[in-house]
Amino acid sequence: MSSGRSTQSPVIGRQQKEESGSENEGRKSDGESSYCSSNDLEPEWLDDIQKNGELFYLELSEGEEDLALTRANAHQQVSTNHVRFSEKEAEILTEQHKKQHSNSRAKGTATLKRLAKILRRKRRSTLRKGKDVPASILKNQSGQRHGGTVQKQLKEVCVYLNPKRLSALSVPLFEDGGLLEALLGVIHRPSWDSDGMRREDRLTIHGLVPNTPAAKCGDILIGDVLVAMDDVDVNSENIERVLSCIPGPTQVRLTLETLVPVDNAGADDAFEARRMKSSPPVSQLVRLLWGEDTAELQMSIEHIPHIVMYLSLKLDSASPQDEEEILYQYPVSEASRQLKGVRGIFLTLCDMLENVTGGQILSSSLLLGKHLVHVGYWKENNNLLVIGLPAERVPLLYLQTVMGDVVRTLKVMYSSLDSAFLEADHTPRLDHFFCLFFQQLIQPSRLREGHPVPPMDTSGTLFLDGLPAVRWLTLPPEIKMEVDTVLSDFESSDFGEMSEDYFGLRRMYVILGSCLFYKSYLIANHLPKEDLLDVSLYCQHYLLLPLSWEQRVGQLVVWREVFPQQRATAAPGFNTPQGRYFLLIVGLRHFMQCVLLEAGGCASPAVGCPGPDSIYVDQVKATLLQLEELEGGIEERLSAPPAPCLSCADWFLPSSSSSSSSSARERLDSLASSSPVLSKLVKSSSSPGYRGRSLFGERSRRPSPQRSLSDSGSEGPEGGVGLGTSRTRGFSPHSSQDSGRRIGARRDSLGSGGSEGSGGSGGLFKSPRKHPNPFHLGTLKKTLTERETDDMYNMKLSSGPDNTLFHFLLMDSVRGVFIAPSHRDVSLLSGSIHPQLITNFHHCCLSIRHAFRQSLPAKGRRGSGRPQSGGWGLGPVKEHGVLFQCTPPNWTDQKKPPPTMTYWVIGRMLLEPIPQEFYVCFHDSVPEVPVEMAFRLSFGLNL
């Protein structure tokens, strides 16, 4: 069914109940086309816009498999439901899968018209997709259902209810629905007999109110009957009383009677499987983003002390009110009690130490029982931001980075700390902000439970999020060009409704630039670096990047005023227009586009708190729809073998049992045969001439994609067993003599003596073979044929006969992007040791990067001659490496000592020609020159 691709069945049926006379028929699920809106002028996110114009609207769609299953089920059982229930009740429609309903057809058509109108200006293909796909859904649904029987079953669903929300909503209670509708979000319409008597007191669920616990939980289906709540039998008479007894936020267990088909065993199984799979219907991450369930998550880290406080340094002694100096605090729980109690320490230290040591206080360490807590400080005006974090999560080395990032994110969102914390109505939003902050730092794995993203350790999160850069995905040039063109088209604002001529008015916003993420990778960026960092900090903080990695973003619309840091502090001599800036983020499935808009300046000034303009949102959506065409190409790139090739740490260690050893070998073989690159790399020669040329693509030796490992094995024994020998080498600890000899050989092969190897990149360029300057690809790129560029992706980073590279990361500080092996590459290499190695790599990088940062302020001093003794520590660090040793876990053989494997983690900072930081992890069998590896990498990926 062609509709399967571009349409998404939403998990949540959002109901627009007031819009049509017949309530039950008005049930409709939006987003069956991701573009659909409930009527011509009102997009579905309209109700979510807050008073200050901000919007965070997130709607999930189920994965495609689920969709298919759903559809299969829909054909088999749903119609039965329909028939049976319509006998008994007025109009129970089978909303089990929340397909759209008959009367939405008219609306759908209206939407389609509008969609078509917008898309007409776009390319043909988009038009085609937009036109026929939703239409097919409309046709397909009703007719083709065939019979089957259903049986009733009881199921239990837990939902989280918060009565306090009702008051916050400040919306009068739904007149007829009462608490059931307002609190739980379940719509129940009592049926009446002809004589006006209530016929039934069973609580049949007739509908769900969007954005309520019942709707979000995803397991409460329309047509279910609510039987009990926390084991208390409920019916339409006592439900209001039961609900009103809930004093505060709590989780309740609902018992529901539901209908399960029994006619077709296969479908039944599939259905059950689907139910099982979606048993946590929505991931923690999304629930957190929706702002629900925070109490439970917060509870689980209660035993770990942490706190954020915004304290006033101006103590008014006249009013001896208690806790007056606390302007903001989170969390209000046991976790923060002790730290809150000693806020006097923070205030005193901040006040006093400046006079003692001449510097603002940055951090302090406290011991709370057994917990070591680091406290970071940030002083702004007369107020002090204090964040306490457990030391085992955030090492002191990185506390400053974490503080800096939080403060910057807050400033981007609220322009200053004062304006963020001092306004009372920001409090719930800040609570959410810091809930996300602590959850990410303290239990990052919890948020990503059951996700395809490999669970990230704390060090990894810390390191990657702390980098002033965004993860970049290099795309094949033709796709990249297409993407850029589409983005540029959009940014030119050259579409009817946005052009000034169209309405004869000044346009509302000028598009300053946008950037595009695909599955959490940045694939195109048309923003200045600092703006990109601001945007990505926001996305990181709100976990939008991991979110888009999943399959499930049906629609994401974020709109808010932002205060880009670069623009706020304008450079002298250059006056940026006094405009206001707005960030619009629109996500559709795996794509997410962030647009920075400016009001004022050339566009009309913004008045008040404007909400998102649907024209702009629609335009971004249209752009994303247009880009979906390229999804295939991008996916192909993502599933391509990692370039440069990676090895798995486990391959270098013999396994404790022979079976797993052989399986590792098989795995290697299969990998090698599946990827021509690996087999090529396995046998790549170590002769210097070859290596020199291989950078530019060795056409004569380029293997065909079909060539397998065995093929290459027959070619030369050395190459074929390349990885095999490396494994045996892993057995013996490295002897120094051996390494010395090899180093010598390496020196010769490099053709460069003395210090040039790593002392500076100069050595590479001085060697007799003439290398073109890798950083000025301009002319070179033009001459490369497509095939050669293709070859460049298939490069190997390490030298020597084996591929010894485990992991790498290259950060370009000028563009604010970094590249690293994709999540998929890493998960492909899963073994017992490799994940540990990655964790270790990230942990070590924290230290290396910290050593580098030390040298950044020293850059100004370079001109001032030699450092004074007793001056500033070790001085600027250019390169730093650590050698690690590991042994296989649970080594069973008692007779022999466990084998060891050693590997390097090396960081290198390059200041010229462009500042770059390069981190690499490789097996220790071949001495590498990191600067050379960085060179190969940045060249080969033409970052």
Partner: protein, 427 residues
């Protein structure tokens, strides 16, 4: 306004009442109000079940609090001038300093007198006796002694160890003592077996004490000492004799023999035949290695720690005269070596634990434990030199090399140096 710049200032107060006992280290002591607040914040936290350990400020300032035996609070304040990022490194230095200062106080006064705090005024007076030792520790930063930092006794490898060892053993036995050692330029050249079993920190402190005593110019002295860990309440006698300028011999003994008897009878008997050997030792000077051990020319300075015997030796080879403009100066080499040591042990290598059990969790511990695999070696390339650190089960080696040595050769240089020294001296 900046009250504390550069050198470290040390504050000592009674833990319960906050009465200042002494301050050392700066020509301009902190005002009383500041001292009071520094003490106050810590006490306040203590009342809430929170103990404040340390604090870092911009510009590299650092304040570290420690309470010893619930009776004495030591606060070290170091001013700015260093880059911000060296905060963790600075913390280790200050922690070690506080350990040593407390050790000194016990060494000189005995634990009982300090802990009981019967008479604060008298204690204040008595504590003056340790000022010279504390001052030495505070200014030790500039010197070529690493023991304060590493808590491993600085040693010197004499050209003829057996001869000196024999004389030392004989001398100690004759003096009714099991602990004795020969100190050359503040480093241990020979020691009895029992001496080696003292706690490493005690040895370091005794060496510092011998240094202050020999600075006083007397040729011999009899000094009562308490050993902070092995004998914190019972005093022993430390007999020290100057053999030659720069060469001292000392023994720890009980009531006998008298200083006079030991000096007049034993000294000549055991040491006069060895004057030439002693002169040879003195000639080695700061090189610490006998001339027989050939060393690579391109090693600027090195430190080798034996993790089992808790002894270390270190040397700087940079020429003191006609400094090479490309290479760091001699003083800078010492400093770099210390900094690199701190850098390595706060991040990667195992460090000697603080001997005092209370509040020993330093902020770097958690970082070290975060590694899932064991770090073995590490190197740094800075603008001045290259540093290489290596850890085996028995040794830790720290090397400083000039920039002209290629990075990929560092490892073999380090391995070579280690095996050369270990095989030729058995260190």
């Amino acid at each position: 306004m900046m009250l504390q710049d550069g050198p470290v200032q040390l504050l000592c107060l009674t833990a319960n009442s906050g009465v200042p006992l002494f301050t050392r280290g700066s020509s301009k002591p902190l005002p009383f109000s500041v001292i009071g607040s520094l003490n106050g914040v810590h006490m306040f936290g203590g009342g809430q079940g929170v103990s404040l350990l340390s604090c870092g400020t911009g510009g590299g300032g650092k304040v570290v609090w420690r309470v010893f035996k619930d009776s004495v609070m030591l606060i070290a304040v170091s001013g700015g001038q260093r880059s911000e990022s060296s905060l963790t490194e600075e913390e280790l230095y200050l922690q070690r300093l506080l350990d040593n200062v407390w050790g000194c106080m016990v060494l000189v006064l005995g634990q009982d007198e300090i802990v009981t705090l019967r008479n604060v005024e008298r204690l204040k007076r008595d504590l003056r006796a340790c000022f010279s030792l504390i001052d030495l520790l505070l200014e030790e930063r500039q010197q070529s002694i690493m023991g304060n930092l590493t808590h491993c006794a600085d040693s010197l490898l004499p050209p003829n160890p057996a001869l000196l060892q024999e004389a030392m053993a004989g001398f100690a036995q004759a003096a009714d003592s099991e602990c004795g050692c020969l100190v050359i330029h503040g480093r241990i050249a020979a020691a009895t077996e029992k001496w080696c079993h003292l706690m490493p920190q005690e040895v370091v402190l005794l060496l510092a004490l011998i240094k202050t005593l020999s600075k006083s110019g007397s040729s011999s002295c009899d000094y009562p000492v308490f050993l902070p860990q092995t004998s914190p309440t019972v005093a022993l006698r430390l007999l020290r004799f100057q053999l030659l300028p720069g060469a001292d011999v000392c023994v720890l003994c009980g009531p006998t023999p008298s200083l006079h008897r030991a000096e007049s009878q034993l000294l000549c008997q055991f040491w006069s035949p060895l004057v030439d050997s002693l002169r040879d030792c003195l000639a080695i000077g700061e090189r610490c290695l006998p001339p027989s051990v050939t060393q690579r020319q391109d090693v600027l300075s090195l430190m080798l720690i034996n993790r089992e015997t808790h002894r270390s030796f270190s040397c700087v080879r940079a020429p003191s005269h006609q400094p090479d403009p490309v290479l760091p100066s001699r003083a800078r080499c010492w400093e770099l070596l210390k900094l690199f040591y701190i850098f390595s042990v706060t991040r990667y290598f195992h460090q000697e634990d603080s001997p005092f059990e209370e509040q020993t969790r330093s902020s770097s511990d958690d970082f070290l434990q975060g590694f899932s695999h064991q770090p073995q070696q590490c190197y740094l390339v800075t603008e001045e030199c290259k540093c290489y650190g290596l850890q085996t089960s028995q040794h830790q080696l720290f090397l400083l090399l000039p920039l002209s040595v290629p990075t990929f050769a560092l490892r073999s240089v380090a391995n070579q140096t280690l095996s050369q020294i270990v095989t030729s001296t058995g260190f």
